[in-house]
Symmetry: C2
Subunit: 432 residues, 2 copies
């Protein structure tokens, strides 16, 4: 770390997601020197990426400059850096812009798309974990419709107008719903020359129900909402293969499609060097009850990357923002105790519930003692997302977009700023 004379312990936080931000905020004015490293100069509000991809929001409204989050926080430094390796024996991280020493290291790198080793699917399908990936998807959707206008071959035309979301978690459900709204309200006006009934949207889930971590009631209602909107929901369905032209599922069935959105799995975003750390399924780092990575005494992991077994969560916590936020807060508290040689307190997740939106006036909310769906759930979903969106400007611009979209039945940002070109753009966008 550069100069700044200090004798306070140095904490390096890798990643400016929900967990990293909370942790650094809670260390404000404490006797610690904090350095945050992130590949981007902004925090990404991942829950709304699908709206960027489907033309409902501009990218800048879900991206927030990290330096701005910590304006006036004197014990905080930030660097745009790609961390390439960790050297735990030397308490050092190696990045593309130099080396940094730490006393405590916090891995808050989150998760990345898991293609389960299927290289061809990885090559041809669209992940949606970063802002550039969401913009690539937006461009691809719009480019495919433009191309469909010109295509004479009926099978190719159908493939250009068919969109398949793989993975029935909140991301897949929300994306399929947003595509259906785009079809029903926007494209019918934008492309009067296309037979809009030929536009098909599929949602494929390998489990027996979509939103499987949700209540049965929420799953059923979400499926009903999607089907009413014209989405073909295939459950108990396993994707075998995708070659850029047709997707094969359940071994024998096929759909011709030029757009597969892959949100069927995530894995921990690991960085080389933590060889002693034990890995759980999905490449997550096993931690103690206070987020210390097994095998180390000054390296912690929080959020999606951390795998902590507790009585209530014997298979680890769900990969959601709330876990990251609460672990970030708890770790700040524990780091201060550890520095003072006090005993760390175990993390106890307070589950505030789950929610997913399907379309206008259509959402599902599972609270501990109350499950509800429909218009009120949709209002709740919007309120909560605005609440957690970082920054006043972003909240305001997002709210304005939602109001305009609601009353106009429109999606105003359906612009192809940069044309999607698979060869040149995927590598840049993925996990960076």
């Amino acid at each position: 770390m550069e100069s700044k004379q200090t004798h306070f312990p140095k904490v390096i936080i890798i990643g400016g997601g929900f967990g990293g931000i909370q942790l650094a905020k809670k260390l404000k004015n404490k006797e610690m020197e904090v350095l945050m490293l992130d590949r981007h100069n902004y925090h990404t509000f991942q829950p709304l990426l699908y709206q960027v991809a489907t033309g409902g929001l501009e990218p800048d409204s879900i991206a927030f400059p990290l330096r701005k989050v910590f304006k006036h926080q004197k014990n905080f430094n930030f660097r745009v850096a790609d961390v390439q390796q960790i050297l735990p024996a030397e308490n050092k991280v190696i990045t593309d812009i130099g080396e940094y020493d730490y006393d405590y290291l916090v891995m808050a790198t989150g998760s990345e798309t898991n293609f389960f080793g299927q290289k061809e699917i990885e090559h041809f399908s669209m992940p949606m974990k970063t802002v550039p990936e969401a913009l690539n998807l937006r461009s691809l959707i719009l480019q495919n419709l433009e191309e469909a206008l010109m295509e004479k071959d009926p099978i190719k035309k159908e493939a250009l107008m068919t969109f398949v979301a793989v993975g029935g978690g909140p991301t897949g459900v929300e994306t399929a719903g947003a595509l259906a709204e785009l079809k029903n309200h926007v494209l019918v006006n934008d492309y009067p020359e296309l037979d809009i009934n030929k536009m098909k949207i599929y949602l494929i889930e390998s489990d027996e129900r979509i939103l499987s971590p949700f209540s049965l009631e929420a799953s059923a209602k979400a499926k009903e909402f999607l089907e009413k909107m014209g989405v073909n929901v295939l459950v108990d369905t396993r994707v075998n293969h995708y070659d850029g032209e047709k997707i094969t599922y359940n071994n024998t069935q096929t759909i011709y499609t030029k757009s597969v959105i892959w949100s069927a799995g995530v894995k921990g975003a690991l960085i080389p060097g933590l060889d002693k750390g034990e890995l759980a399924r999905g490449g997550r780092l096993k931690t103690t009850s206070y987020n210390l990575v097994n095998g180390y005494d000054n390296i912690f992991a929080i959020g999606d990357l951390a795998y902590m077994e507790t009585e209530d969560f014997p298979n680890g916590h769900p990969g959601v923002a709330q876990v990251a936020i609460q672990q970030g807060q708890q770790l700040a508290y524990n780091l201060l105790r550890i520095v003072n040689q006090e005993k760390a307190h175990p993390f106890d997740y307070y589950d505030k519930g789950s929610m997913a939106t399907i379309g206008r006036n259509k959402a599902v909310v599972d609270l501990k003692y109350w499950k509800f769906q429909g218009f009120f759930a949709w209002l709740t979903w919007m309120f909560v997302h605005l609440l957690f969106l970082v920054g006043f400007r972003n909240k305001l611009v997002t709210l304005m977009n939602w109001i305009v979209n609601y009353f106009s039945y429109d999606r105003g940002t359906r612009v192809i700023i940069r044309k999607f070109n698979r060869e040149s753009m995927m590598e840049e966008a993925t996990a960076k």
Copy 2:
């Protein structure tokens, strides 16, 4: 053009800028079949590109989907197409997606950046005529400041913190002003580790005054505003050379800089094939008084591309939105007359005045009988720009951004969505 049985004359409009949009709108419900071709699926509100580049606005708020402009306009078709050649003898245009026949062709392609044949300047400096170019510039500015943090060599550090805008027209003036505000209000908080006094902003103009087409009063006041904000304004200064590290001017003087914004000139965005058309200075197509391109009887040019000599404008009209808008409207009227074998009416430009903004509460406005500067000019500038910005959502989001920026002294969209990489990104962004 595809099927749609019709016997109406076919008009092809190349370009969805101010002129093309007005023309197509005025042909609504007329006995003409209109096809608009543009490389982008959106209209770009060019006057606000500099705010995208300096982190004040999101790109989507100055881009408006062209299909949406003409929703429900039955005699209108749109294609995203790159027109590669015009075959006047066959009344045909050749594009990357196929050929289209026309009865009347309207060239509304606008202008592109003119580097006056200086290849090295073209390679190393940043133009700002398209949304991707503005985003590239935004990324470069922010990346250079990040890099400055890490740079030990004082000359290299200075070069990273020095920004030079070449060309003292409205674009250069507005960009230099916006950079000064970024420095004074935002970067001082974002980069407490940098000595912000080392950040230098230059505006270079070859004429003896900036905003040379404006009144003397406006020029002087703009210079005063800029200097008060800390911009070094160099007039009567000619740039000779820029090699990516240092810019040379007036033959012997140099400034070390990693960021040169080039807005020193434009030229008509020509398409091969109009060989009989006479060219004026700056590659503009000479036209008759009703925008017919000299040498042809069914090809018209409007806006920046058109060069029309009139009594009031013996050297052609200025390259501003108002000329394009009024020529588009007038040409619609004339096309309908021509189709009906009536005489076309000559174009008569009504000059509504000129304005440029320098910073908060600082703008200059020249009306025919009234010239004013300062706070009221700044309000006028904002009002007029909102008025001409296409689309309700865009107006609303822009207004919200301006309000937040005004009260917070902030620029909320200072995010590097895609890292700027000269080799891979310039070609894609430039003039596409």
